[in-house]
């Protein structure tokens, strides 16, 4: 996997590169939007991580230009601006996800992995998701584990679907809030955790091997052992 980092802050770019190296990704750094545009056009990247505020050309202009050229490499927009509408603007300009600085590296990692996976799975039109003996039929919206049907409420189904689509990868609370409930703020109580433990009751309780795991300080992970 090859990632393009477009970021004008040298230290932030280097920290990001080190972090990505640690995860086994190769990466290249561009210092502003113009350089980013050039590298994105010539290089063969699987993902762009793009800052918004940069000299010469900002990240959103760069993304709009590339999308105009039918370049559909997934892009994660990073920005110090945190307001809701700036997020909408970032996504409208061609970003596939939006993360507010300062961010936890684990959050960035989870989102990068989700984006890369989304691209891979987009090529296959799945009708059934499965993790171990857990199955979700996307057409009939039926969930079974070891052939036993599990009845879920619509929102629980959406939560499970998101976890299953990102199976094997850590999913953060923020990602769940954004993708399952469409909330772009963090509730001050552990609301998400409670939803997860309810879901866990449903899918794990009466089975010997747990599938839904908590990754302390990071999020949740759905994985067959």
């Amino acid at each position: 996997m090859n990632i393009l980092i477009v970021e004008d802050d040298t230290i932030a770019a280097q920290l990001l590169q080190q972090g990505l190296n640690g995860l086994g990704y190769r990466s290249d750094i561009a210092r502003d939007g113009e350089q980013g545009l050039e590298k994105a056009r010539s290089g063969n990247f699987d993902l762009w991580v793009v800052d918004i505020m940069m000299p010469r050309m900002d990240g959103l202009t760069m993304l709009r230009t590339l999308r105009g050229e039918a370049n559909n490499t997934p892009a994660l927009v990073l920005s110090a601006l945190g307001e809701v509408d700036e997020r909408v603007e970032g996504l409208r300009s061609g970003g596939d996800d939006y993360l507010v600085k300062p961010y936890a590296f684990s959050e960035l990692q989870a989102r990068i992995e989700a984006l890369l996976r989304r691209v891979r799975s987009a090529q296959i039109q799945e009708t059934v998701l499965d993790v171990g003996d857990l199955k979700l039929d996307l057409l009939s919206r039926k969930v079974t584990r070891s052939g036993q049907e599990i009845l879920l409420k619509p929102r629980e189904l959406r939560l499970l679907e998101y976890l299953m689509r990102n199976a094997g990868q850590v999913v953060t609370r923020t990602m769940l809030l954004e993708n399952v409930w469409d909330y772009y703020f963090d509730p001050q109580t552990n609301v998400v955790d409670v939803h997860i433990s309810r879901l866990r009751q449903q899918i794990d309780k009466s089975f010997p091997t747990p599938l839904l795991h908590t990754v302390r300080g990071e999020g949740y992970l759905l994985r067959a052992e």
Binding site: V84, D85, R155, Y183, P187, Q188, V191, H195
Partner: protein, 451 residues
Amino acid sequence: MRFFNSAPVRLVLLLLVVYVASAGLIFSFLDYQLASTLTQGADHTLSEERNLLQFQYRDNGTEGLYRAIKSEIESEGSQSHGFRIIDQHNRITYQAGGLSLPLEKLFSGVRQMDVEASDGKVHQARVISFSLGDGLTAFSAVSMDPVIELVRRFRQTFLLTAGVLSLFGLAIGFWLAKRFRARIDAFNRNTNLIMQSGDLSSRMPVSGNDELSVLASNMNAMLERIERLVQGIRQVSDNIAHDLRTPLTRLRSDVQVALQQENPETYYAALQRVHEELEKMQSIFSSLLAISRAESGGMPVKRTVVDFSELLNELLEFYEPSAEEHGLLLHGDVAEGLLIYGNRQLLAQMISNLLDNALKYVPSGGEVRLAAHRQDNQIKVVVEDGGPGIPPEMRDKVFERFSRLDPSRTMAGSGLGLSLAKAFVELHHGRIAIVKSALGGSAFLLDLPAA
């Protein structure tokens, strides 16, 4: 020179100049009208006389003519009149009256000329000449001196009155200007005092209800608002100092202790704690930023018509498991079809903060209720609980940043959730208040304009 820099003094002088100039204009017009009317009157008398004398001569000969002249002089006064009749050889055949006319040929119309009177004085006179027939030419003169005297007196009276009035006006004007200045000076002294000492409790003197007093009252209202804002900012910065100093101190000692060890596991544990603390501090900063942005209007908010009923029901569903976990009964009573023109995320966060607040403070076994309905053009929302409630004197305070009912600040929470909720309510042109709930605890009442 300082005197002429004063706005009221300049105003007085300007008014005076305008007054004198317009009075002068009116006077010039009257003066001209008076002089010309009186001259026309004299000319008219002269032409009447001509008609009379021509008539008398034709009917009654020289006898009648002389008699008529005498009676004219008697009735009009001899000093201001003069008559002369000459024959075709320019010999004077008759002369009467006090004005001795110079020798002239017959001319047409009325002429103005200097004429010597019998007392030696030179008069300005209107003179007419006409033919009587038989080679006789008559000259008749009437002195303009009474007219000139009248006009002179008129001018004198005017100048005197205008002069006295100007002086009077000037005196009153300067007195008013001085009074005005004194009040302005009082304002200036006060504002300078405030600027130098920074004491915002000082106020402007207010007397009566004229414009200056209104200005003073407005300045006082502004000072009061500024005073309150400054107090608020001081309060907030004190709180920030307190709320951030505590975790910073903890961070520092944690790191210090870890550095004294040589155990990677201790490092790891310390770093994890540092990370958690930093996250908390970061979220405090984000909330503070969001509150100030919302309050200052610096937040760019995209608004759409939001199905508020759906939003509330989704939040009820979102919070229901949490409430159950806390041993609380959460029930909703949301009318259908409530629409608000606003931002979905901010509206959701606003209600979410209120529900979080209830979840945090209501003890297990309690009740939380979220209800909403439309009344006229307002959407009335209530988030109420059967918790310990908020004492009346604290009900406004809880919306202030970092305010917590528990003074020792041992309970969880940043003390920013309710401030944020209030800021978002106001961003949607709504109001929020706290009353006692029928459930026993506090009820947050929201009024939001319906779309």
